[in-house]
């Protein structure tokens, strides 16, 4: 049971980080569908910096920084120029796919999967002297991911900037009329989401495993988008949706051991996410129908 729980947390952490970023954007009134590409970019840059510096932590820092920069590709068009964030996100997601594959060949000289003894992964908590059950074999970023959810929930509800961010998302014009600088908050939210995706990507590439492979975000960013849709402005609900996804992924892995085809395991997280979406939508479906 402990190993299963550990597997759930491992699978969930990157999604939680990305979803939290998406949630901040959604609260500020920007629909962020660029999470998938940013996770991938975060994973790649984490490996890049870890390989270059030999330090996993510098890899994490590099990933965060690089993904914040990458998120500007969404925030500038969508916030400053008011371009359609959905279209921009389609573009940046595609760009991330191409850019990581391209740079991988340029920098590491090969496509597919890159791993190397020079690449330093994140230590486990156990290795850092915290041999807790379930959490022991995880990287420190896993508890950080969950603590960030707690923090975000508090911050949105109880701080000045959190209140303002919520206001801006609800009625941008009203926020402007009391002197709030809407674009500043929105840029901050989108770039902050970039930072969180950078962390998520780093966990994916240096925590869950120690390698980079093409397209390794594998739809986690989309699951995070769905989690945001499910959560509305409530971080806790988003966390629940992510855990559901993580459980599905971990369960899929398990069942493969019992002869379930790999394809079914691959499909399970998407189907379960969609199912959750359907159930949630059906539950809050309007009683009244305007034909």
């Amino acid at each position: 049971m402990n190993t299963f729980l550990a597997a759930v947390l491992t699978a969930t952490a990157p999604v939680v980080l990305a979803a939290l970023g998406g949630l901040l954007c959604s609260v500020s009134g920007v629909f962020n569908m660029a999470l998938e590409g940013q996770l991938l970019w975060g994973a790649f840059t984490a490996v890049l910096f870890s390989h270059a510096t030999g330090s996993a932590w510098l890899g994490v820092a590099g990933a965060v920084l690089a993904t914040v920069l990458y998120a500007a590709l969404l925030s500038v068009p969508a916030v400053t120029f008011r371009a359609d964030p959905v279209v921009v996100a389609v573009g940046t997601n595609l760009l991330a796919l191409g850019l990581t594959a391209f740079l991988m060949r340029q920098v590491f000289g090969s496509g597919g999967t890159f791993s190397s003894p020079d690449l330093s992964g994140l230590p486990t908590l156990a290795a850092l002297g915290l041999d807790l059950p379930v959490l022991g074999p995880q990287s420190p970023l896993v508890p950080v991911a969950f603590l960030l959810v707690v923090w975000a929930s508090w911050w949105l509800g109880r701080t000045r900037s959190g209140l303002r961010l919520r206001g801006i998302g609800q009625h941008a014009e009203a926020a402007e009329s009391i002197g709030l600088r809407v674009p500043v908050y929105r840029h901050a939210a989108v770039l902050g989401a970039g930072a969180l995706c950078g962390l998520g990507g780093a966990q994916l590439a240096l925590g869950n495993v120690t390698l980079f492979s093409e397209g390794m975000s594998a739809g986690r960013g989309w699951v995070a988008v769905v989690a945001v849709m499910l959560a509305g402005a409530r971080p806790w609900l988003g966390l629940g949706a992510c855990l559901l996804f993580g459980a599905a992924e971990a369960l899929g892995f398990r069942l493969q051991g019992f002869g379930l085809p790999q394809q079914a395991a691959d499909a399970a997280p998407y189907l379960i996410t969609l199912l959750a979406l359907v159930v949630a939508a059906a539950m809050r479906r309007d009683k009244e129908r305007t034909v």
């Binding site: 000045r160 206001g167 609800q170 402007e176 009391i178 002197g179």
Partner: protein, 556 residues
């Protein structure tokens, strides 16, 4: 003019602002003293809103400056304006529906204790302010759940909380009943007594005369008059507002009003399927005919299951205009949507020419929605494509034919457009509204339903639209007009229905539809029983707390 010993609280000097080819403000000077209620009046499009937006930092003037207490200030954003003690209550309230009253009031200037929002302090501050000025609001209530009149109080509290010394009220009574408006003006007086300068922006003269100390009149972006309220009259103000006196204005209504001929076509050249030679607006040409639209005991529930329309019955006859009044959110929108078949009735029936309306089936009434950008048009589509909607049938579409048809409508309704291929969003509000009306009148259905016929429409187009509606009535259509402008209903309608909390609580012939009566009905207050026969209720089974009189005899 000014008291030289002390500078005015706020002063606008030589303000000029141009939008594209429109000169919205042209060298406007305006000074407001401490403790003064200063009305700024003018018709729609006179430049009031632009001027106030400049004062509140939303627009920057091309020329001129703003002075506070004699010192020039640069207002580059609302934040600057707030910092200089300016507060504004917008016509369209700018509140956060999902936040509480207290959060809405303090946001942007929140009380904080050790880095954390101090909710207790916020609630106390709001409750204290509300108590001081008699603006009853619950600080903990969620704004989205409050009635619109209460929301406006929240807006005022917002400005007071920020210690505004200059308070701009932009058309504050647009969302209020006459009774609520009186309450607002009492509160405004209190502010003035405490030294606050109040700028009251309105186009309603009664309000100006009742509530202000001085008046500045704008027309076409210029100041055309400055008066001390006590020493002026409605007629003098009107002359400054429209360049001629009210009496003449009424007489001229039938004719094109000092606009170029391309702008205003003679009414009789205009509508499709409408008799030539329109009668003056506000007077019925002939006797009304049979009921073309009948609503019987209609119930409609909104998304929360609350009855938005609760047992409404009425009818509209051929050749009459029935007005629909009520505070926003009293069920008018749901009623109209059900009548037009866009919304499903909970129970009861809507009969069009004796045949029940089925929701979701083809619309059998001409309908001019109030939400121009949201429903009546697709702003990004061309004028031609917008004019086509509803008339598309069969399979093939010939673009050239669509454009020819559009061009014909454009000409017949004298819509000012550069090209029928250009997006309808490029048209002015008045021309877009005329285009919608043109499309709907060309449907040639016997029943016409219009929401807010002249919202956001310039004066010239307003008169044309009123004339078109009157002409449609005279051609024998049954017309239902919903408007939040009581004066508009009085000018157009033969009788007025008033809705309150989903019910029709009064039906008044236009001759009896005074502000007092309408206002009382709009707030659900009991009315003196209107005179009139009893034909209506029996025939139509009108439900409601009041016996509802029939317009027929009284109006005749």
């Amino acid at each position: 003019m000014n008291d030289h010993a002390r500078a005015p609280s706020v002063e606008l000097a030589g303000i000029t602002k141009r939008f594209g080819d429109v000169l919205a403000n042209d060298g406007i000077d305006l000074a407001v003293e401490r403790g003064e209620v200063h009305a700024v009046v003018g018709e729609n499009g006179a430049g009031k809103s632009t001027l106030m937006s400049i004062l509140y930092g939303l627009h920057r003037p091309d020329a001129g400056q703003v002075l506070r207490a004699g010192a020039p200030v640069r207002l580059r954003s609302p934040a600057d304006a707030i910092a200089h003690g300016l507060g504004m209550v917008h016509q369209r309230l700018r509140l956060f529906p999902g936040l509480s009253v207290a959060e809405n009031v303090v946001i942007g200037a929140e009380p904080v204790r050790r880095g954390v929002l101090d909710r207790t302090a916020a609630h106390e501050a709001v409750a204290e302010l509300a108590g001081r000025y008699g603006l009853g609001v619950d600080p903990a209530a969620r704004v989205g759940e409050l009635p619109v009149g209460v929301r406006q109080r929240v807006e005022i509290l917002k400005a007071l909380y920020r210690r505004a010394e200059v308070l701009i009220l932009d058309e504050p009574t647009a969302v209020l009943t006459p009774g609520e408006a009186d309450g607002l003006f009492l509160t405004v007086r209190e502010f003035a007594a405490e030294g606050v300068s109040v700028l009251l922006v309105t186009h309603k003269l009664e309000e100006v005369l009742a509530a202000s100390d001085r008046v500045t009149v704008l027309r076409g972006g210029r100041v055309t008059g400055r008066f001390a309220t006590a020493a002026t009259s409605a007629d003098e103000l009107v002359r400054a507002m429209i360049g001629r006196s009210l009496g003449t204005a009424r007489q001229e209504r039938r004719q094109p009003v000092e606009a170029p001929p391309t702008e205003l076509a003679p009414v009789d050249a205009a509508p499709v399927g409408v008799k030539a030679g329109a009668a003056p607006v506000g007077a019925r040409a002939g006797e009304a005919g049979s009921y073309l639209l009948e609503v019987r005991d209609l119930w409609v529930r909104d998304r929360d299951g609350v009855a938005a329309v609760a047992g409404v019955s009425f009818g509209v006859r051929a050749g009459e205009i029935v007005g629909l009044a009520g505070v926003a959110g009293s069920g008018q929108r749901e009623l109209v949507e059900t009548v037009t078949g866009l919304r499903r009735a909970g129970s009861g029936t809507v009969l069009l020419g004796g045949r029940p309306v089925e929701a979701g089936k083809e619309r059998r009434v001409a309908y001019v929605p109030g939400d121009r950008a949201g429903r009546a048009t697709a702003p990004a589509m061309s004028l031609a494509d917008n004019l086509l909607m509803g008339a598309q049938h069969g399979l093939r579409l010939r673009p050239a034919q669509v454009r020819r048809r559009a061009a014909a409508l454009v000409e017949r309704f004298s819509i000012r457009a550069s090209s029928v291929r250009a997006p309808i969003a490029h048209l002015s509000g008045g021309n877009a509204q005329k285009a919608v009306l043109a499309r709907e009148l060309s449907r040639d259905t016997p029943v016409l339903v219009v929401e807010e016929p002249t919202q956001g429409v310039d004066v010239g187009a307003q008169e044309q639209i009123h004339a078109l509606l009157a002409a449609a009535r005279d051609a024998g259509r049954a017309v239902l007009v919903q408007s939040s402008e009581l004066s508009e209903l009085r000018a157009l309608a033969d009788r007025v229905l008033v809705m309150f909390e989903g019910r029709v609580v009064a039906e008044l012939p236009v001759s009896q539809a005074t502000d007092e009566r309408l206002g009382a009905a709009m707030t659900g207050a009991t009315l003196p029983q209107p005179t009139g026969g009893a034909e209506g209720p029996e025939r139509l089974g009108v439900a409601g707390p009041q016996p509802v009189g029939d317009a027929e005899e009284a109006a005749g």
